[in-house]
Amino acid sequence: MFLRLPGIEALNYWLIEAPAKVTSKQRPGQLLSEGDDSRDITIKRLQAQLAEMAQIMIDNRLMKLLLGISESMAKHSSESYNGGYMSPETDKDTGGDQEVEENKETKMAKQISRKRRILAIGYMLSEHSLEAEEVVNNVDLLTEILLCLPAKSLLRLKSVSKHWLSLISDPQFAFNHTRRNPNSLISGLYVYYKPWVTNERRSISLNGDSKCPTLAFLHRFGEGMTDKLVSSCNGLFLCSNDRKMRYLACNLTTQKCTALPEPRSRSHRSRYHFGAYLAFDPSKSPHYKVVLVSYDDSYLVSPGTFYDIDIYPSKTASWKHMRLTAPPGVSYLRRVFWNGAIHWMSQENIHIRFDVDAENLMGTALPSIPRILSEKQIRYFGECGGDLLLIQTRMCHAMKFRILTMDKDCSRWNVKYWVNLKPVISGILGITSSFFSVLSVVNGANGKDLVLVLAVTGNFVLYNVDCKTLKALPELQPDESHEPGEMTKNLEAYEDVIIGYTAYLPKQLNVSVNLEEFWGVSYYFDENIGTLGFH
């Protein structure tokens, strides 16, 4: 009895001194001191040993050292240690006479030492994984951690185990992930390179360190379906065949696609100002809509001008046709999905928007200043970081321009930045004036800075408007899904017609639930640059 209490006290002390974790498997409840005892010198020595061992464990996390210590400790403890907790059967022995006890002690020493060592080794081996396993076995906790990971990492971590695969593949998880990461950064673009000659698709990674995903997965739908990338929105993109009659909604991140049925209405077939757009706001709904807009100015058919609009909501998976009276003025070809509506402009300074959910068309007359120039003078019209942006220049070689942003209520354009590319372009590329095209406007790594992606005399550069810094991008990567043609070194921007780009946003996992499970979309595409080429 005398020996028993110190034994437990020593064990308890070990626990005090060892912030190295005692796990739930050690049932801490049983390790509590049961009462006072006298601390003789043996105990103190043992305590010192234990403390030392704990320290080494913490400092080094070394198995071999621990083994040695555990053995020497067991030697010391053999006098006083009783495995009350670890080997209950020894209780009987310790209950006996002190002398008998001492005889037995040597025999027991090895046994106890072994047990102790097993315990200690087990403890060390699993020191990390016991807690980590606890995290992994707690689905809520593991999900919480997984929700914080970027999409690209999640795709890789599907390979960890079947359990992880099922968690990450769950549509609800993908939806939650998207809501958790509403602001994602565009990290790559796809461009059509010299489409009149080769129609090559190339990709530009804005991160520099990683390649854009290949579009080779589109091949399984056959050539006819995937001739053109026509629209992108918050991570989804839309492909169509040349006749623009069949559409494929794709998720670049997960590389999954859904073929849309052919629209019943034929009204858009031979129309003017035709365009197909994706409307997708994952922060509001996991469903996307595809909107076909065509402008009908045929006075022979009816006395007025109309927009023929076909909508395909992924939720109902069927097309709906409507004809809406157009606001006055010839409308521009560039259209963009922003803030729940598809926006475009007309020559009469009227801002037009089609609210995708309310399904109505609104025209707002804008103030005469700032003046909206002709479509040819518009260098960029698109969305970035929640703002609708407009860049226009009167002269095609102009290196100075303004960046305008639209009011939330679509009542006016405001000047947000004045940009002068001349000093920085001449300093780095050695040219004073050149044609350039704005491929995209994205947010910088901090999520706030505005960064222009420019093509200037065959170079792709990132210009940070806030910091006024220029960074050259590596050469375009040919997209593996296309036969690589002859690489032309001198890409003359704009006039060589870069007819479209897509960008993907791997930081975001967008989700769109429809008939086929469809999650993890990450991409952005804009046909606007392409439409310029058709003048």
Partner: protein, 166 residues
């Protein structure tokens, strides 16, 4: 926040406004202001239901981790702290190795402190996001239950995400 009557019920405690948290792993004790400790929903429930004695035992959380938790609660109980200050302080608390973070996330989960759970989870995610999946498997002690063929198939589906990884 605990209501005043609840404090009265605990009047047997010598100090009404403080609670003592005791790590059951190494018996370290921490005396904290009640409103600091009550950020833990678990502790709040104990106090509200009058289950809390003078000393609240906290099983499975070491003193080292409990100290971090209390530091977090103290920061966030300070009404004059600006959001930027809190962000910086949070970043300091979670600037730890992955194993400490795992302990911390378990503690945050057990004590039900939402904010701490979120920052710690985010930090864990940041630490593993660029690791090969094999390393993640090892860190979390996950058994690979794929056959080589199955693993290759899952991987092939998202081949682009593996660029530069073993």
């Amino acid at each position: 926040m605990a209501s005043a009557p609840e404090n009265e019920k605990n009047a047997s405690a010598p100090e009404k406004k403080t609670l003592t948290l005791k790590s059951m792993i190494n018996n370290e004790e921490f005396v904290v202001d009640e409103h600091v400790a009550l950020q833990s929903v678990t502790i709040k429930n104990m106090v509200d239901s009058d289950c809390a004695g003078d000393v609240i035992p906290v099983p499975t959380i070491s003193g080292e981790i409990l100290a971090l938790v209390i530091e977090y609660c103290k920061n966030h109980a300070n009404p004059s702290a600006s959001e930027d200050d809190l962000k910086k302080a949070d970043a300091g608390i979670v600037a730890k190795d992955i194993y400490t973070l795992i302990d911390l996330v378990l503690a945050a989960n057990f004590l039900d402190i939402k904010g701490l759970l979120e920052v710690t989870s985010q930090k864990i995610a940041d630490s593993i996001k660029d690791l090969p999946h094999q390393d993640v498997r090892e860190i979390f002690g996950v058994e690979n239950d794929y056959t080589p063929e199955e693993e290759a198939a899952v991987r092939a589906e998202h081949d682009w995400a593996f660029e530069g990884f073993p």
